[in-house]
Amino acid sequence: MASWGEASESRLIGKRITRLSGKDKVTGKAKYTFDINRPGMLYGRILRSDVAHATVMGIDMSEAEALPGVKAVIPLIEIGNKLRYQGQEIAAVAAETDDIAKDAIRLIHVDLEELPHVVTEADAMADGAPQIRDDWASNQSEPNIREDGNLEAGFAEAAVEVEATYHTAVQTHVCLETHGHVAEWEDEQNLTVWASTQGVFGVRNDFAQHFELPANQVRVITEHMGGGFGSKFSPGVEGHAAAELSRISGKAVKLMLTRKAEHLVAGNRPSMTQHVRAGATRDGRLIAYDMKGHGTGGISSGAGFQAPYVYHVPNLRTEKVNVATNAGNQRAMRAPGHPQASFAMDSLMDELAEKLGMNPLEFRRINDANEVRQAQYTLGAQEIGWHRRNSVAGSGTGVKKRGMGLGSGLWGGGGGRGTEARVTINSDGTVEAVTGTQDIGTGVRTVIAIIVAEELGLAPTDIMVTVGDSQPGLPSGGSGGSQTTPSVAPVIKTAAAAAKQKLFERIAPLLDAPVGDLRVGTGTIYVVSDRTKTITWQQAAGQLGMESISEGGQWDEELRQNGAAGTQFAEVEVDTETGALKVIKIVAVQDCGLAINRLTTESQINGGVIMGLGQAILEERFMDPYTGRMLNANLEDYKVPGTFEIPEIKSIVFDTHRKVTGVGEPPCIPTPGAIANAVYNAIGVRIRELPITSDKILTALVEKKA
């Protein structure tokens, strides 16, 4: 049975290793899609709808076409069709410079018949609201209802009850590198696309289908990628437009989204509203849970969340609907549905615990069946100093009050089949590892190098890793669901092991030893039964002559594991005169199985916590009900955490087993709930809406006083 071996045997795996692309990134040498420039390349721009709802009556592109420097203009919507959200694509141009392209889209004249819009959930759910989806009976989807146990009997058994409404705002992904592509046709049958994507092969197949080409005649390249968080799996309208403009003009076309478009059309995390009534028994068991909830994913559905979350309730009824609004489609965003669910559930848990007069940590211990998290509670509580917590919320003295809270999460991250990889040993001693995955910033390039180097007794920097290119024809899945490392690692390991075996077979006669007695040292190969027999890696590889060794790998179920529990503790400080919230410290205890690179695993936890922090304290999409516009489609009023907001983060890699589990997503889940509970513990007033901004805190404090 394959295994990653014991920690004591590992030279590299599980250690803290600097990412291989780090230097290129900080010196600007790393080329992102934005940095790609091709000979004679044109610049693409898209004309987008200013209004949230309208029928297109006509598009006049003649003035744009006549502008000197414009090489192609294409419509992106048919006359008579409806525009259903601000930012929806109308037409695209390609021009010799970006400035000309910008001018050109303003010369396209669009005749619109405006329709009534609804951009907020309240407006969409109001009586007499204009219906904005033809395929639904109203602006609400059919309810998704789940029932378990006997709700009435559950409430009868409850000693305490809480009834509350929890809400989270729509968040956008804010990829630092906006969505976009550089498309170039070699000839009518061969297309190359540099794409800012999380899925090189998915994008390749999409382009091939869209342009009716054989898949192997489309090459997609993503050498470095500036953030996707779930929003970058397909070319989108902008990708198809870039390739079409390139096809028509016969030139390469670069088309990257503006920051405004990125907010409007490139995905978002849906909102969540939960009206919950829940009960617990005197001895602290969750016993009844009745929830009616909704969320909006814009014009699409997909506003899902789990309720209840993580903790088990035997008697329940839940009813969820999607609410359609005239706003851009939701897309998967880092642990879709989970942070919303965790915030509502962990807030509810604290409210119930308080009614029971129970320490919220104890209350969770009673209701949490997950053994990993049980152990994490102990560790996290020690690390944050849970004993320092206010036993009575808001009981601290002074203007600035501190408090502590916790939240929990669960994720899969077990990976799956579908990756092909090749490890090649050349006679000069060089080693190549190739697979069609992509490094979206998580460090999988380095992970691959570590695995191969461990197997072959080399250093990670000795391994030449190629990812983010479909041309070698070694597919891998998209980087979503925290699946990349658990999907890729087993295949890379088996490929490296197979290559090593081949090399052993070639040099066993030279060392006059059976193949089974050969081992790798550090840059050497030796005979385990007679240590005097040893040769350097270079000498061994030199035996290969003109024939390189090149071996594929296989998926191995035993090398990975699904399931990543996590818990986080937050300490906050609230200025009760200004409402200013400062997060002092987050302790993130994250179940992650075998951390192949401990350094980048910690980085992922840090990044997840910061993203969760943004959702908790700052981020919110503001839709204006009257004009139908998003009012903060920028980075001035759509506020993401900066250095002043980021607290001390204690990332604890909770590695309880030696199988690989992905943790790209789960560290952002428990953060908002932990912070919300800490705010309550600090000031004795509960904020049930994310983000927890100073206006909400101050308003709640005033209401409490009154």
């Binding site: 005169e577 503001f622 204006d624 009900p625 004009t627 001035e636 009023d637 100073s694 206006d695």
Partner: protein, 326 residues
């Protein structure tokens, strides 16, 4: 942005004559450009000509002597923030300057531009929304989303003035020197700013052919304490939700005179005569400082989403007063 021609200024006469020859907005002045560039890129302004003021000699100096401060309009926000005399004797101004935006913006943004910057209102900054300030007939903040809008002096345009330097300078009694085709004039900075009831389209009294060239601040009095308290949602960069510039002439715990000017809550820097009256001649304690805060906001008229600013402003004023007494 639209195409424009770019002229390097050689003299103030040339600048005012260029301005005089054109209609409002056709010729615009650029120094640091940190505000104007965004307005051009968003098509909020579409001038035909930009006049670069940075080529004017000697307009970026800061001099401090017994008569007070003279700050050229081209002095950068960073220069003001790090000026040691300003830090020690005009603390409120150094603190306000240090709170502006980011180091990059402070390094190029000028005091002249900071005082003349346009509103950050999200309706105003959206090219496709023709709001009252841009000549339309509606201030959308009245019925729309108004979290960052005015609670004082709004009618009929509920923008807030974004400058951090202005409240500090007004609290210090600053004047502004303006040059036009007829020559130069000096006015108090407080009178420089106007409310929308007077002119909904502009935030100050500058005529189309006038330019701010210098800001002067009278010498700091002895026993003066001053503070700039700025509440914001994000450490940086962020504009004020509410800010208080307080200059207090103290005799022990007793306040001889107080200047209290608010930012982020009104379409112009807002001098709170009520707060000043509540503090002047008083021994400052918690009840006096609380009263000063309450008096300052007693006429506040919040919109749908900004009632929190009333409490916030009240508390910031009380805090500043208590700091003066401590």
């Amino acid at each position: 942005m639209e195409k424009f021609s770019y002229i390097n200024a050689t003299s103030l006469e040339q600048v005012t004559s260029l301005l005089s020859e054109s209609a409002w907005g056709e010729v615009m002045l650029i120094a640091g450009g940190t505000d104007l560039l965004a307005e051009l890129k968003e098509y909020i302004e579409t001038p035909k000509t930009l006049v670069n003021l940075k080529t004017l000699p000697g307009m970026d100096s800061i001099t401090a002597d017994a008569s007070g401060l003279k700050i050229g309009a081209l002095a950068t926000v960073a220069d003001i923030a790090r000026h040691s005399t300003i830090q020690h004797h005009y603390t409120v101004l150094a603190q306000a300057a240090a709170s502006v935006a980011t180091p990059q913006i402070r390094n190029v943004g000028t005091i002249g531009g900071n005082l003349c910057q346009r509103p950050r209102c999200w309706y105003y900054r959206d090219e496709t929304i023709n709001c009252l300030k841009k000549g339309g007939d509606t201030c959308y903040a009245v019925d729309g989303l108004s979290k960052y809008h005015a609670i004082l002096g709004g009618d009929p345009v509920y923008i807030v003035h974004p400058s951090d330097l202005a409240p500090a300078l007004i609290a210090l009694g600053a004047s502004v020197k303006i040059v036009g085709p007829e020559g130069e004039k000096t006015m108090s900075l407080e009178e420089f700013f106007t409310l929308p009831a007077t002119n909904p389209f502009r935030e100050n009294v500058l005529e189309p052919n006038e330019i701010v060239v210098e800001v002067t601040v009278p010498a700091a009095k002895a026993n003066t304490k001053s503070f700039y308290l700025k509440a914001r949602e994000k450490g940086a960069p962020d504009f004020a939700l509410s800010s208080v510039a307080g200059v207090f002439e103290m005799d022990g715990q007793t306040c001889k005179t107080a200047s209290i000017v608010l930012g982020g809550v009104a379409p112009a820097p807002w001098r709170s005569k009520e707060a000043e009256a509540a503090l002047t001649g008083k021994m400052i304690d918690e009840s006096v400082s609380t009263q000063a805060g309450a008096d300052a906001v007693k006429d506040a008229q919040p919109l749908n989403d900004n009632a929190y600013k009333v409490t916030l402003t009240q508390n910031l004023i009380s805090r500043a007063a208590m700091m003066a007494a401590s």
